[in-house]
Symmetry: C2
Subunit: 191 residues, 2 copies
């Protein structure tokens, strides 16, 4: 079963090393990993042309994959990497099993509480809002409800871990738990 | 043509008013708008059950839509709302025409330059990186390359505007430009 390994690891200083570790783990659990870092993109005349070529190759890789494991660890802010989220939505629309993990244990509401410095209050209808009046989702979910909901609707799980800050994009134990659960559910069990 | 109106407007204090204005504009340009704010969700026993029900209804609405216009204005940080991005990826995987707009004119690289306080430097291979060593996309794109790339590959455009800060999620001129371009390209032109 071909699994697309989505995540912001491609941006890390040691991207190749981390991607190779993810690839090796996926193989160990019986999957055929497809990783965006695998691709070679030819040089392009414009920056934009280069970016479009990477997008096209990633979409092609996804279209050949049968499931996704998305690293939804908050990236440069309080939410998941938007490139990864695009890919999660893409694979969910294709009806593929979808799994996710986050190396922060805090859920969406807790991260927004920190973002607003604790100033979240219910409005007249009981809906929680920040001091800017903008509503805050409080659904016992790790991320925006479309992400948690999309994963659950495709039979997957969203695994969380609290890891040391300097291991935020390096610790692979939550990723490995996704592989372990997915292997039990999706790969033919021996006799 | 049924257009799904994705965006974080659903969280605004005056969400209904803004969504109704978007709906009216879409109709004026000849589209049949489908808006996540339209739906009525029954009360659920758990918060999580409630969130999952909203996710399921939104996915059903998307599955009945033929194109998407996504509000990709940076939301609570430097990137687009992840719920909206999930929906963009979802509709792109379905092969639907995809349009986007942002009410910040700054592109992805410029926002990251501000995020890193100007400390972006090329590494030994010429790839720009922040002081944390994490790579920065520099592709003359408004957002992560999967978003710009997905929209362009489906014949759409990503329109930007610089609007007054207090109109960031209220100004509909970039949205209206999406409608205008999409109407010319996608709706049967008279005579």
């Amino acid at each position: 079963m071909k699994v697309y390994l989505a995540g912001p690891e491609v941006f890390l200083p040691n991207a190749r090393e981390v991607l190779d570790a993810k690839i090796a783990l996926a193989r160990r659990y019986g999957f055929t990993p497809i990783s965006p870092g695998d691709l070679e993109i030819p040089a392009f005349e414009t920056k934009r042309g280069h970016g479009l070529a990477i997008s096209a190759v990633n979409e092609k890789l996804m279209s050949g994959a049968e499931m996704i494991i998305a690293n939804l660890t908050p990236f440069r802010g309080i939410a998941a990497d938007v490139g990864t989220v695009y890919e999660l939505g893409f694979m969910c629309a294709r009806g593929c099993p979808a799994y996710g993990f986050s190396n922060m244990a805090s859920n969406h509401f807790e991260r927004l509480m920190a973002y607003y410095g604790g100033s979240i209050q219910p409005d007249a209808h009981g809906r929680p809002r920040g001091p800017d009046g903008v509503a805050v989702e409080d659904f016992d979910m790790i991320e925006n409800l479309m992400l948690d909901g999309g994963i659950e609707a495709r039979g997957g799980v969203l695994v969380t871990r609290e890891v040391a800050p300097d291991r935020l994009f390096l610790d692979l134990s939550a990723y490995e738990e996704c592989l372990s659960i997915a292997a039990r559910r999706l790969l033919a069990a021996p006799g």
